[in-house]
Symmetry: C2
Subunit: 529 residues, 2 copies
């Protein structure tokens, strides 16, 4: 069933001589199918097809693009058990998790389809002419978002479906009117092939141009780097490590024409545990934290990698409860040998800092390639002296920083750089007493959560998944939720354009019946002249 | 009256030993006042004051910030004749032009004030909780824009008021809630001082924190570079040359935390002259073009530096008319000796390309330091072989590209990189016949103008002043118009936050009565629970 080839638009190609296999964390064996790494010439053809496709695809109406996205969702659904089975095999995740992730993937595609059907997302704005204005007549000026051109998507290792081939990046880039070229994650090459096939079938069925989507296999960096440097590529999306994201970001700066790189590079998502809340139900709080630390073997970008509390008798009870909970956690399978090796190495290394002590680790039997949950403790004072201790350890690890007073807590909070999220576990009284401290966190995060763990990212209109650097390369945008589409557009203004030339979104009659800003006021009415 | 010192928040400082004077293009003499270049330590204090001011300023309500902006406008108006006189002296521009530019500056400040008073600009979005949702309850998620921190503004040489100390960059950065540090243009140090004084008086009168605004003098690059590299600076705005903008952009990449640099670097603003339009009223078209080439001695970022037409008998008539018009233009004063020297050198150099011939130049008497209007011609074929001929010559110069047919025209249009604008001079019939060619231009510009010259940028809701690189470093934003505020904010999401913690814009009751997106639908109603 799996052919191992690259999708160069509607064509399959496998001219290259480099091949690789994927690995099953469950069986600890390589899977049998061979994948052929894309050649440079195949990459060039994919880009050139994307450039041609762009000319046609950008002219498709919102409804046409919506039909394409809905068809992708339908085709993925039709892939049924085969897709889930393959994703389970390649990612070592449970069937339940992957069914959930598929649901989210389908929801995302359909949500973007509904946004396109509604049409108001283009932020159309109309300032009608004022021929009588003095001292000079005012021209008619209108603007809206338009697509930017071919987008390259690097898929994530930790979400084989929802942040992958047909995940949020691809869905939002396609929704905005851009062709997409996926650089598939080598750990999930089979899963990628099944989803890419679904996208191609959907493109054919809904009359989309050849080149609107391509998917390239690669286990080394060369193809990805060439894509980022290609002059016809206009934007890049990436989810993964800081090292990977930063290097793509640097690479894009070397182009003659710099382009945006939206890299979501992870985060330690500090969780502030305030005294009133700790007191309220210490056991429940400890259980909530422990569960969140271990979800997906801690391989989520929203993993709570840092906990912060004031040293107190109550915190001592919390520590005891947390140690109990952590020791009982069942280690889960990690995504890959490299990730698991790194995790093991880093959870050893951190204790080479004499000021860091182990609070607890899971005492449960663990199979090979699982990540053993660990919680470490450091004092606020020692942490301030060495804030690098907050560097992310990808896996089910968390560092509890115990602060010797409010001032020390404030100083600890000030050390944090950009984060995807911060959580505040607090009673109403805590929030009043610690408002200043909470606001310090607000300044460095994309999402501030009250009485909830960072894991679990809602896909909706108000989600912000993206924080200041180094959580992402551009905290002004989100990679989850409807507004992710704004990464792949730019505004274009039309001055005194005849109605026939204007896109439907800007025509006088407002044929799409969308909301527009007319002279600064929202309106869904036609422009009267 | 002019003290020559730096504004370090509410304090004046002039500890440095480097001084400079400004120059009057009108009298060709230096003006008498000495300006003291800011020292590194003064710069550090300005940034540190900005950091402290940010803590207070970001908490000011929209109405409070609006009062500040209105007070700045009022104080500038009260500066009256002295300001206009100084700006005339330092920029060599006419009183009429500077009165117009002051009017625009005041309008911009008041427009941003009205945007703040309205309040809806923060793009508040609310997805209320759904506790009953299956399989998991939906949290309450809300988001809106918030300020980013200290912004550095490099003022432009060609607009001593409207793109300068209290120009669009400063107005939009302050409106968004950020302190501003201006690196004043050394050509207009006196004008800057008068305007900076007005801003400081306005800040004091409206109770804004010390450090919300600073202004530093510098005639060399060091202070500007130190500002861009300062870790506490969060964003940079610049209007000027490609070399200047690109170097700041590169500099910002070298920071540990990269920050956005919004550099507006100019453009040749191609004007497509289509056959029907040329035929309609050839003399009027020629006069319109000639006037636009010479406005402000061609020193506008929207100067029409390239004209494109098909070779034909009608175009021959246009050329004759244009030559007549150009020869009669009165050369205007340029901003500075350097600019004038560069202009003279470059308008000589271009004719070293043997394929470029002179169509006409002004034959009018010219005073020293004026820019003599010149129009050159090149064939489409020769231009395609050397598209570098389209590099901007800052001043009243334009290059007419004469194309030997529609295919050659298409190829010429495809050579253009990012531009602020393109103009299409066309009849309705022309637009139908050349739609494909017009769309090629649309792809590389921020603003597409029909039957109008690029010069003259409306300040409104729908303006897009910013095109793909190299016109700007970020074509996703505008530096003119209301949406310029979006450069200096980032979205922050609040999950399950108690109403008391939320900013007014996101509270259930909608106390500011703003438009919000509630579950994806626009509403100005309270959230019902």
């Amino acid at each position: 069933m799996i052919h191992g080839k690259n999708f160069i638009g509607f064509d399959l190609a496998a001219e290259g001589s480099l091949t690789f296999k994927t690995f099953s964390p469950a069986t600890l064996q390589e899977l049998p199918e061979l994948f052929v790494q894309a050649t440079k010439s195949e990459m060039e053809i994919a880009v050139s097809k994307a450039v041609s496709a762009y000319e046609h695809y950008k002219r498709k109406s919102g409804k046409e693009r919506a039909a394409f996205l809905r068809a992708i969702a339908d085709e993925i659904e039709l892939s049924g058990g085969q897709l889930i089975e393959r994703a389970c095999a390649e990612a070592g995740l449970s069937e339940g998790r992957l069914l959930g992730e598929r649901g989210r993937t389908l929801n995302q595609l359909r949500l973007f389809a509904s946004v396109l059907e509604d049409g108001s997302w283009v932020e159309a704005s109309v300032d009608p002419a004022m021929p009588e204005r003095k001292p000079a007549a005012r021209p008619d000026v209108r603007k809206m978002f338009q697509a930017v051109g071919p987008v390259v998507v690097f898929t994530a290792s930790n979400f084989p479906l929802a942040f992958s081939t047909a995940g949020g990046d691809t869905a939002s880039a396609l929704a905005a009117g851009n062709p997409v070229i996926v650089k598939a994650h080598p750990y999930h090459a089979g899963t990628n092939e099944l989803v890419a096939g679904a996208i191609i079938r959907a493109a054919r069925k809904t009359g989309m141009p050849d080149g609107v989507f391509s998917s390239l296999n690669a286990f080394d960096f060369s193809i990805g780097q060439e894509l980022v440097l290609h002059p016809a590529v206009k934007s890049v999306a990436f989810t993964g490590s800081f090292t990977g994201g930063k290097s793509l970001y640097e690479l894009a700066r070397k182009r003659e024409e710099p382009i945006p790189v939206f890299a979501e590079m992870g985060s330690v998502n500090p969780v502030l545990l305030l005294p009133g809340k700790i007191n309220e139900d210490t056991a429940l709080l400890a259980a909530t934290i422990a569960k969140s630390v271990n979800i997906g073997a801690g391989q989520l970008c929203t993993n709570p990698g840092v906990l912060i509390a004031l040293k107190s008798a109550e915190t001592a009870v919390l520590k005891t409860e947390l140690a109990k909970q952590i020791s009982q956690l069942l280690p889960e399978k990690m995504l890959h040998q490299n990730i698991s090796n790194n995790y093991e190495r880093k959870t050893k290394q951190i204790f080479e800092n004499r000021e860091v002590v182990k609070l607890a680790e899971s005492e449960q039997l663990s199979a090979e390639l699982t990540g053993r949950p660990v919680v470490a403790i450091v004092s606020g004072k020692d942490f301030i002296a060495n804030p690098n201790l907050a560097e992310e350890i990808f896996g089910p690890f968390s560092l509890l920083i115990e602060c010797g007073g409010k001032d020390e807590l404030t100083e600890v909070l000030k050390t944090f750089r950009g984060q995807l999220t911060a959580s505040v576990m607090a009673t109403a009284h805590d929030i009043k007493s610690f408002r200043k401290q909470i606001e310090i966190l607000q300044e460095v995060v994309g999402r501030l959560i009250f009485n909830g763990m960072p894991t679990g990212v809602e896909v909706g209109y108000s989600m912000q998944h993206g924080g200041p650097f180094p959580a992402t390369t551009d905290g002004r945008f989100t990679s989850v939720g409807v507004d992710a589409i704004k990464r792949f557009v730019r505004p274009v203004a039309f001055q005194d354009a005849p109605d026939e030339y204007l896109p439907d979104e800007l025509k006088d009659a407002n044929p799409l019946n969308i909301w527009r800003r007319v002279d600064g006021h929202l309106s869904n009415e036609p422009i009267k002249k």
